[in-house]
Symmetry: C2
Subunit: 326 residues, 2 copies
């Protein structure tokens, strides 16, 4: 089985590559080749005996997509996106990459099908940004999508295209809406959501972290390991069970900041907790107030998508995967 | 006030043109010019003292849209679409006209704004085809959109683009989801929904009509006069009251076929009813079984959009507007 990852150089793309290599089986067949595409060159994975192709280019160019589809990968993971803040600042770039990129991909696959019957599994990462406030504390499965950002709009349009092309049989697609990934490895960044990870990751290594919102803020989390698990399950699932509603909200852990901090205390003790410095930031508080806090993800759960069991588990995953268990 | 209608030669476009001319005022200002665009030449309206421009061309060509926007109409009604059946048969044409056409329009307006601050009111006709079965008997305001046709997908994508461009201030847009228009004037056509109109329109003039479904089939109707009323109200409304959720389900009359027939009996008597011939058609029954039956349209109602009061009213509107009251 040949597998392509678009957006392979990002955090989730790298972890997905590692997991695919270590599992060695996709859709019941041995992983024979990896096609790793991104705007920057992805690393060649260690310990992979099969063929690896590194493709560097802009997926908003149809020629780049045609090059990828020409290799006829049996599974394509589409993780590439201009992130929320950038899509909001650069309107044209966001639509070009997040919307036109998806359409090019679907059109290239459709053209390939017309040529030789090619019908790959396409796993698309969508986002809970397709929902827009105000919404209930727990968002039901059948709640409508009224994005309040260009990024959320582009993700929602991509979901609709994926469903329509799948309904017509041009592709075998599935879209998954990821929770906010926590704990993000790396260094603190300026994303408004960064603090959810910062207040765990930094104290675990003895560093101070800033908490810009109140302890009562509730949000929806998944570990990087769970996110990769969702992607692999989406690649393997029988989409006949999914039906025409091809886009699914993934399960997650709903936790308040206070619950995050209690979990940190349970895993790493009082000393870690004492490194969290409260520094309220009105701007971040206002942004976060518009975010979803909890979802009914029972459809995905019934289809076998499994989340972390608790926020403590999310921290333990980080300690195991990023800190060698220490 | 200069007003443009894209799709002006269609049934709703023609009635909208007539109503605008007879009212003579749009958004509180005298109607000074009409720009009537369609793939075929629209008729020049009678009794209009202002300037009329007839534009003939394909709105999926950006140059046609640029020509229309160059006139800087203060209000644009976008009614043009490839209908459901054709969009399902001709995948490329449906996307080109229904989706790319909308995007070209929004992009042309955005470019004009960058040049001179132009920000028109854009009234877009969407459809209840954005909803896809299964759904509850009454579809709530916040119910999700999972279209089961390419047409519904294209309408939903257009709604999302309209909301995002409006949120960014590039246009002042509002989208309205029209019920099935009934009674459609003209001759019986092959649309699966045609019988809803046929069983009223034909018996009223002493002709036989075929009913291909059971009397218990329930559907969501609005008269052509109400549909035009929705469009004009959408042009005049203060969109600050609408907020970021720019797309609204219009109110309608939910009626079963049996209730339609009782209304016909009340208006035109037993002889008219006796002209309805029952001829069950499995294909049409199957298609219609997937259609929505009733909506909560309380948001639109609170914003002043007013539907017909009953199915009898819908028939009386037809008698007044199409049969000179007889």
């Amino acid at each position: 089985m040949k597998v392509a990852i678009i957006g392979a150089a990002g955090m989730v793309g790298r972890k997905l590559t590692q997991r695919l290599v270590s599992e060695g089986i996709v859709r019941g067949k041995p992983l024979s080749a990896l096609l790793l595409a991104d705007v920057v060159a992805a690393d060649i994975p260690e310990g992979f005996a099969g063929e690896t192709t590194i493709q560097t280019g802009d997926i908003s160019a149809r020629s780049e997509i045609d090059r990828l589809v020409a290799a006829r990968p049996g599974v394509i993971f589409h993780l590439a996106a201009i992130v929320s803040g950038e899509a909001e600042q650069d309107f044209d770039k966001g639509y070009r990459i997040n919307m036109d990129g998806m359409r090019h991909l679907l059109e290239a696959i459709r053209a390939a099908q017309a040529a030789d019957g090619y019908t790959p599994r396409l796993v698309f990462t969508s986002s809970i940004a397709v929902f827009g406030a105000p919404f209930p504390e727990t968002i039901p499965e059948e709640y409508f999508h009224t994005p309040l950002t260009s990024y959320g709009t582009q993700k929602e349009i991509s979901e609709l295209l994926l469903a329509d092309y799948s309904r017509k049989g041009f592709v075998d697609g599935i879209g998954i809406r990821l929770p906010t990934i926590c704990v993000r490895p790396g260094t603190p960044n300026k994303a408004a959501s960064g603090f959810f990870s910062n207040i765990i990751r930094e104290p675990l290594v003895g560093k101070e972290a800033i908490l810009p919102v109140s302890d009562t803020v509730r949000h929806w989390h998944a570990s990087p390991r769970s996110a990769v698990g969702f992607l692999i399950h989406a690649a393997n699932i029988d989409t006949a069970l999914v039906g025409p509603r091809r886009n699914l909200t993934m399960p997650g852990v709903s936790a308040t900041v206070a619950e995050q901090i209690e979990a940190l205390r349970a895993v790493a003790g009082e000393k870690a907790v004492s490194l969290i410095r409260r520094e309220p930031d009105e701007t971040i508080m206002r942004i976060v107030a518009g975010w979803a806090t909890r979802f009914d993800a029972s459809r995905a759960q019934a289809l076998g998508f499994a989340a972390d069991k608790s926020f403590e588990d999310i921290i333990r995953v980080h300690v195991e995967d990023e800190l060698s268990g220490r």
